[in-house]
């Protein structure tokens, strides 16, 4: 039952080696990442924990091709992203990565379905936008505009938008950060369902420790370095989480 136990899978989708990222902020050098090594394995649900400023967003952005590292390598299925230029990174994101952000980032002038279709239109092998919305439980609300949806619903539209192109990797940056507890659980259940039913490799970054209980793998980041990697044998369903 290898698929059901992705932590044991040896197929690495994304890997980072000795990743360093420094920003020059005026006269001060900020070391956001100081030599990070990590793997994202096929089909796993990974939670990246860390306090604010620990570098977890920077790591996610580099893994997703939104940013480039100062040194070190990022490899996606044998493709070295470190050497990719802007065009190639765009193509990488377009073909393989789905993003979910704290602030949803929906296009206000498009309905839920249209927001999803926006991505389906440029994907090679998308699922139907309506199916994607059904998957996140928003089938009946597909004709609503963002301003007519609650925060949790908007976030689930964002998830539908991210998964409809059937990405290899789903990267979520604080997806529950702007939501209350009940809505947050609803969103996490959606991510769990996507991971389980579609087998999409998922990485969620959060500073909310209890969320780690639903992961196959937990990576903790402190001050730009990996302080702990934990492969969990048993994971809690999202509905069982409390904070």
């Amino acid at each position: 039952m290898t698929a059901a136990d992705p932590a044991q899978s040896e197929e690495v989708v994304l890997s980072a080696r000795e990743l360093v990222k420094t920003y020059q902020m005026g006269e001060v050098k900020v070391h956001a990442l100081r030599g990070v090594d990590m793997n994202l394995r096929s089909g796993e649900f990974l939670v990246l924990l860390g306090a604010s400023g620990s570098g977890k967003s920077t790591l996610l952005n580099i893994l997703g091709g939104l940013d480039t590292a100062t040194s070190g390598t990022v490899v996606y299925r044998g493709q070295d992203l470190t050497k990719a230029d802007d065009e190639e990174l765009t193509e990488f994101r377009r073909a393989h990565v789905g993003f979910v952000f704290q602030f949803y980032n929906l296009i206000p002038s498009l309905t839920a379905e249209e927001n999803v279709r926006l991505v389906a239109d440029i994907a090679d092998n998308p699922m139907s936008p309506v199916d994607a919305l059904e998957l996140v439980g928003l089938g009946p609300r597909k004709d609503h505009f963002p301003s007519q949806l609650s925060g949790g619903e908007q976030q689930r539209v964002a998830i539908a938008r991210a998964v409809c192109k059937q990405p290899d990797v789903l990267l979520c940056d604080e997806p529950t950060g702007a939501l209350d507890f009940r809505t947050g659980i609803l969103v996490l259940e959606t991510l769990e369902r996507v991971n389980r039913e579609l087998g999409t490799t998922t990485a969620v970054i959060t500073h909310n420790v209890p969320i780690a209980q639903m992961a196959n793998t937990v990576v903790e980041l402190v001050d730009g370095q990996v302080s702990k990697v934990e492969h969990r044998e048993t994971k809690l369903p999202a509905s069982g989480l409390r904070w």
Partner: protein, 787 residues
């Protein structure tokens, strides 16, 4: 420096692209205002001062001959302040430097001192010594055109005898500010000469000793012009008076006034529109710019800045932009204004014509732009400052979009979501889109407005000289001649065809209104002259009765079918009654048209012609011309091409410069609007666009979303702008309805193409500039921050 002021300077430097373009919009509006209005006021005040100083007369009259004693009769007329009687007659100047002889006037000077009225402004030399025959002053424009100097001699045909006139001085005259023959409407300084001679020397040549044939009158303040003219006519009638006329019918002044009316329309309406448009744009652009600072305003409020402090902050921002734009506009406007005033001296001969920068003018321009900017910016700032800081610090609620008609119709099914973003943005933000479209449309409209005058002039030129006048040369006779004389001209070398025309100077009288004018008589099978109306249609000469210029009929208050009293102003001065059989909305002049035979019959005269129209072989003209010059009884020889060249060199050039300046301003405004629109749209949409980039959209694809919106705005604005422009042109043209010519409001296709082209080019340049910004879009930054 206070931190808030430091913020101001940094904001300005950070937004410099927008600051510069907005500043240029203000500068263009202010400069247009200062240039045009300044040129007009300068010309107007120069003219008034000059007329005053040289004691330019109020009433003029010509007559056959009256003894000097009649002057006291004129002086005793109620309302007359001063009378100046003199001798004046037409002369021909066969000067070597011209192919055709120049025409002109010779006017007497009192034997001692200066004339009482219409005094001369001596530019060089001195007044002629009394008693020295053939000494004369010459008109400055003619002297300049032929490089004549004091001491030179000029051949002048005075009353049929050629004399060698010696120039003792060069003078300007308020009667010849616009140096043109009485019938001309084009300045013709090369071909129009005026000489002034001492009376005692001149009188014997004209048999005018102790007599006069020309009189000028200055009115007492408050005197009735009409009453004085009527009284003068009564006094002068026994002496062959051909009717007194006021300043507005004086040849030079009527042109000057006409030009000034034209310039006033151009110089008051156009700059108002420019300034208004610039102000409107300043208002819109600044209010949007401030909206983008929502979070900053909230933060300022949260840390304790009051609403008035925040308001003041933005007032300062606007002041810095508007004042530097105004300063640039005033400097540029003053420069262009003096250049234009300088250009006017080419054909308005005022001494000391200087461009004046009226401080009131400047303060109007500056206040209008300041006010518009401040209102726009402060309104936005106040709106934001009125929100509780906590609310204002959150991003504005997602704009509400709902299903629209297009949704219900299912129209969106057929377009991709990216295109839907464009369409919905436009559809759901009608006010913002509308303001942007109106802004760009205004920029388009002032480009149309800028070119309307030159279009009209070109049209007029074509209508009059290509379609209506088909002859090559016009020969005017000193006195009417028989048809045989016209036929004789056909035998001259190079003359292909000759046609006679009768022109009778007349006075039209109807219902107490009167007007000096002329009736043109056309030969039955005439081929060379046609009457073309402003719609470019040929108007046939009626079989019987007289056809009047529509404007003339309006002045006289007559309509088709009315009987009109017509007094002939030459020969036996017969008075007849003519029926108005049709009207012609012709662009030029105020006159009557009749068949030649009808004209002869009505006035009971022999078949005569007062001029001949010739078609010539251009290769032979060098042979034709000297022969024409040799003929006796020829008053003037004018090549049509000469008039066209002259006109193009003067009026057309003037119009071109005018248009060029305005077009430059209009284009600046267009670029400013389109660019700022694009920048504001970019700021407002950057979050959406960055989201799209993150989702894997390529640069080209997101550019299409933003630029598609701009393209739609520009494309909507062009037809609207052209319509507004045409409407404004009509309004401006209506303001100037000089009696000499009526410019048709006919905009050329080139003007439309030009306005559309410049706007699209401005759009394209803005798109490229914005595209560069789009390429540098900070994906992570935009997604992390709320605004």
């Amino acid at each position: 420096m206070d931190v808030i002021n430091r913020k101001l300077l940094r904001d300005l430097s950070q937004m410099r692209g927008q600051v510069i373009t907005i500043g240029l919009v203000v500068a263009a509006g202010v400069a247009a205002y200062v240039t045009l209005q300044g040129t007009w006021t300068s010309l107007e005040s120069s003219k008034t001062a000059y007329y005053e100083r040289q004691r330019f007369a109020d009433v003029f009259a010509r007559l056959k001959r009256a003894p000097r004693s009649v002057v006291s009769d004129l002086e005793s007329i109620d309302g007359v302040a001063e009378v100046d009687a003199r001798i004046a007659d037409a002369v021909m100047v066969p000067i070597k430097t011209l192919r055709e002889p120049a025409s002109g006037l010779i006017v007497s000077l009192p034997d001692y001192g200066s004339p009482r009225l219409n005094q001369l402004h001596l530019v060089a030399g001195s007044m002629p010594e009394p008693g020295r025959p053939d000494d004369a002053l010459v008109l400055e424009s003619f002297a300049r055109a032929h490089s004549l100097e004091v001491g030179d001699t000029v051949p002048v045909v005075i009353n049929g005898t050629i004399r060698s006139v010696r120039i003792t001085g060069i003078a300007m005259s308020p009667e010849h500010v616009f140096p043109a023959p009485t019938t001309g409407i084009f300045s013709d300084e090369k071909r129009f000469a005026v000489f002034w001679m001492r009376e005692s020397v001149m009188a014997p040549a004209f048999d005018m000793t102790n007599a006069f044939n020309d009189v000028s009158v200055r009115l007492q303040p408050g005197a009735s012009l009409d009453a004085v003219m009527a009284a003068m006519d009564r006094v002068l009638d026994p002496y062959g008076g051909v009717g007194a006329f006021g300043r507005k019918d004086q040849a030079s002044n009527s042109i000057v006034e006409g030009e000034l009316t034209q310039l006033k329309a151009m110089g008051t309406v156009a700059p108002m529109i420019f300034l208004g448009v610039a102000a409107f744009l300043l208002n819109v652009v600044l209010s949007r710019l401030v909206l983008l600072q929502r979070a900053q305003i909230a933060t300022l409020k949260a840390v304790g800045y009051g609403k008035s402090a925040i308001g003041l902050h933005y007032v300062k921002l606007v002041c810095l932009i508007a004042l530097s734009g105004s300063a640039l506009g005033i400097a540029g406007g003053a420069y262009l204004g003096s250049a234009m005033t300088e250009m006017y001296t080419q054909y308005f001969r005022f001494p000391l014509l200087a461009f004046e920068l009226d401080p009131r003018l400047v303060s109007v321009a500056v206040s209008v732009s300041l006010l518009a900017g401040i209102v726009g910016a402060v309104a936005s700032a106040t709106r934001i400052a009125n929100l509780p800081p906590a609310e204002a610090m959150r991003p504005a609620a997602p704009p509400t979009y709902g299903s629209s008609l297009l949704d219900k119709l299912g129209a969106y099914r057929f377009i991709a979501p990216a295109a839907r973003m464009v369409v919905r943005e436009i559809e759901r933000q009608p006010l913002r889109t509308g303001l942007s479209v109106i802004g760009i449309a205004f920029a388009v409209s002032i480009m149309v407005l800028a070119r309307v005058s030159s279009d009209a002039m070109a049209m007029l030129l074509d209508m009059q000289f290509q379609q209506a006048w088909k002859e090559d040369v016009m020969v005017s006779f000193l006195d009417p001649l028989s048809d045989g004389a016209v036929r004789e001209l056909e035998h001259l070398p190079g003359v292909l065809y000759a046609e006679g025309m009768r022109m009778v100077p007349v006075r039209f009288v109807h219902d107490g209104r009167k007007r000096e004018s002329a009736i043109l008589g056309y030969p039955e099978d005439g081929q060379l002259r046609r009457v073309i109306d402003v719609e470019r249609r040929e108007v046939p000469i009626p079989e019987s009765g007289v056809m009047l210029t529509a404007k003339l009929a309006e002045i006289l208050g007559v309509s088709v079918g009315d009987e009109l009293r017509v007094e002939m102003l030459e020969g036996d001065r017969k008075t007849v009654s003519l029926r108005v059989s049709s009207l012609a909305a012709e662009p030029f002049g105020l006159q009557g048209h009749m068949r030649m035979s009808e004209l002869h019959r009505a006035f009971g005269e022999e078949a005569t012609a007062s001029m001949a129209l010739l078609r010539i072989d251009p290769r032979e003209y060098t042979r034709t011309e000297p022969k024409l010059k040799e003929l006796p009884k020829i008053g003037g020889v004018l090549r049509k091409q000469t008039i066209i060249d002259q006109f193009k060199a003067q009026s057309a050039d003037m119009m071109l410069v005018f248009s060029l300046i305005l077009t430059l301003f209009a284009a600046t405004i267009a670029v400013g609007v389109v660019y700022n629109n694009a920048r504001v749209a970019l700021s407002m949409r950057s979050r959406d666009l960055a989201s799209l980039r993150v989702l894997g959209f390529r640069r080209g694809e997101i550019s299409a979303v933003l630029l598609g919106e701009l393209a739609v705005q520009v494309l909507l604005a062009i037809p609207i702008g052209i319509a507004i422009g045409a409407w404004m042109s009509k309004a401006m043209m209506n303001m100037s309805d000089p009696e000499q010519y009526r410019l048709p409001v006919m905009l050329s296709t080139e003007t439309y193409a030009y306005a559309a082209g410049v706007t699209m080019a401005a759009g394209l340049v803005s798109a490229l500039l914005v595209r560069r910004k789009l390429d540098k879009l900070d994906l992570i930054g935009v997604l992390k921050t709320r605004e």
